[in-house]
């Protein structure tokens, strides 16, 4: 009994240390690749804590989905964009931002610590309302039963969410057919298009006659009067 308790505490302590060091690494390292690798450490520590609390299926999912897919996605994007864009933590546009952030974070932690340490040690609530963790079924069977009975509507909505996410990712990552313009580029293109609108040098007499005929057919008295502007052909 004593040995079991010690092992539990030791597992918790080691996993907690890994989690916290990884979390600090995510925040404090400057290179995004180091941030991503620290995130892997934290996710692994959380997976160990899941195992310690008998959530074996979630621990496996945590390693496969988070460490296996999400962090790899992060690393892909980092490699795609290049790691040269290292932000400097020393320069801050607003001097008040970092103290405010730290105070806000400390306040959040303090709230939970007060609630946990000062409040009652016992968890209130109806136990086993959606199914007990013990019993005849194993871990995956229990989650599957809850998922396809009580939570089946949420499950279906999740399928829709994943479909939307896939479509959104495809749309976002598609190369635009016409390159989007910067502001400077936009001004230049507008200038060029104005130059293109210059009057053709010469018009044949026939063409002039046609244009005049068109004007008369439209009825020039209905047309608003135009003010000559540079670049606008009258």
């Amino acid at each position: 009994m004593l040995a079991t308790t010690f092992v539990e505490y030791a597992v918790w302590a080691v996993a907690a240390a890994i989690c916290l060091l990884g979390a600090l690494g995510v925040v404090l390292f400057r290179n995004p690749v180091h941030n991503a690798l620290s995130l892997v450490a934290t996710l692994f520590g959380v997976a160990v804590l899941f195992v310690a609390q008998e959530a074996y299926f979630l621990a496996a999912i945590q390693v496969i989905v988070y460490a296996g897919a999400i962090v790899v996605l992060f690393l892909f994007v980092i490699m795609l964009l290049g790691v040269d864009a290292i932000e400097s933590l020393g320069i801050e546009r607003h001097v008040w931002r970092r103290p405010v952030a730290i105070v806000a974070g400390a306040g959040l932690v303090a709230l939970v610590l007060v609630a946990v340490l000062v409040g009652t040690a016992e968890v209130t609530g109806q136990p086993s309302s959606t199914g007990s963790l013990g019993g005849e079924y194993n871990d995956i069977e229990r989650i599957g039963r809850a998922l396809f009975t009580d939570y089946v509507w949420a499950f279906e909505i999740t399928a829709v969410l994943l479909t939307i996410a896939v479509v959104g990712a495809v749309v976002l990552s598609r190369k635009p057919t016409e390159a989007a313009l910067d502001e400077a580029e936009f001004d230049r293109v507008v200038e060029e298009s104005r130059l293109d609108e210059d009057v053709p040098e010469e018009l044949d007499d026939d063409e002039l006659d046609e244009l005049e005929a068109d004007d008369e057919a439209v009825g020039s008295e209905d047309l608003p009067t135009y003010v000559d502007e540079p670049g606008v052909t009258s």
Binding site: I102, G105, V112
Partner: protein
């Protein structure tokens, strides 16, 4: 092993993630901090599922994982499409949201 220790650890993780989200300006790192906060909440859910002997907490963690995956996919897509036009952009530069 009582459940308080897990909740305290989750609170610390959440606080670190929140501070990181507010302090860092690289959009990728901000996303990683969001993942940290999600993991802290997941840890709390699993811990309460254990102490209440209720599988509902574990199912919620399952959904959080799925939503986090979808969020990362779309968010990284947005970041890539922004960075493709202006490399080295930070969250400060995007405050006008005009691209």
């Amino acid at each position: 092993m009582n459940q308080q220790a897990y909740v305290i650890l989750a609170a610390l993780l959440f606080g670190i993630g929140a501070v990181g989200l507010l302090v860092r300006r690289n959009p990728l790192v901000m996303f990683m901090c969001v993942e940290l906060m999600l993991n802290a909440v997941n840890l709390t859910f699993v811990s309460f599922a254990k102490s209440l002997d209720d599988v509902g907490g574990q199912v919620v963690v399952f959904f959080v994982l799925v939503v986090a995956a979808a969020e990362v996919v779309v968010g990284l897509g947005i970041i890539v499409s922004i960075m493709r036009r202006r490399s080295g952009v930070t969250a400060d530069d995007l405050r006008m949201l005009k691209g």
